[in-house]
Symmetry: C2
Subunit: 154 residues, 2 copies
């Protein structure tokens, strides 16, 4: 028996894990300029796209759980970028809205995607490749987040 499947180079999760961390690292110089971490940037993108979301909607968009999102939002709130208010229709829900400062940050963030694409292009990664990969990865997300629901049934 060779155990070759246990070798790092034959793993599929490991490349995902590494690329994810390395890309996040590549974002860092741009994000630190506007004072956000990568997960905070994700939350802000969700809100820039659709202000006034419930926490539940944010959490589902990002495939995160409340125990991650809750403190994350708390920190973003303490930075003065968002407000959290209880919903009137459903007192369990919390509505997250952008403050003036939070809305203004969008302008500062707007060049980041372009700058990241330029950086990747500089490393020989084309827009086509990125586009293809995005489709593939979205299928994986669909497959894996369905899988997650299987666990709920247990």
């Amino acid at each position: 028996m060779t155990y070759s499947q246990l070798e790092l180079k034959n793993q599929i999760c490991f490349p995902f894990y590494s690329v994810s961390r390395l890309i996040t690292k590549a974002y860092k110089p741009f994000l630190s300029k506007i004072g956000l971490t990568y997960p905070q940037y994700l939350v802000m993108m969700v809100l820039w796209e659709s202000d006034g979301m419930r926490i539940n909607e944010i959490k589902e968009k990002l495939f995160l759980d409340t125990n991650t999102v809750s403190p994350l939002l708390k920190r973003i709130e303490s930075m003065g970028l968002i407000n959290r208010t209880r919903s009137n229709e459903d007192e369990r829900s919390v509505i997250v809205t952008l403050t003036k400062k939070g809305k203004e940050l969008k302008e500062l963030a707007s060049p980041i995607p372009e700058q990241m694409l330029e950086g990747l292009a500089h490393e020989g990664i084309t827009v086509e490749e990125i586009s293809n990969l995005r489709n593939t990865l979205n299928n994986w997300i669909k497959a894996l987040s369905d899988n997650k629901n299987d666990n709920k049934i247990k």
Copy 2:
């Protein structure tokens, strides 16, 4: 101005980030059976492949920094799976070796890759797709970890 590039669905990092977390989550039931977290499993795979590595080599294989690997190894050591000893040739280096228990764990871990592949196949993800993706991702890793070296020059 539409800001469409700031929409979540147009990001490339976000799918990587999500897939990485979702796959790690998919590993969890298998790994918890043998008492490892995903990063601990990575370290063990490196050592099963090549016992007696220096911390520096482990850290480079995994694209991690010492401030992540150091406590990680400490925890694995406290589980009795590895030993850490200073190198004689270079007193700065620490050699990591598997204990008997650490070597035996390989046998328990050996079915995991197959089980993961079955799980993915069940979600409609083929071995061919995984293989192609692995090649693509390895290119990204190369590109992004080169990029990292640029920062060192600064």
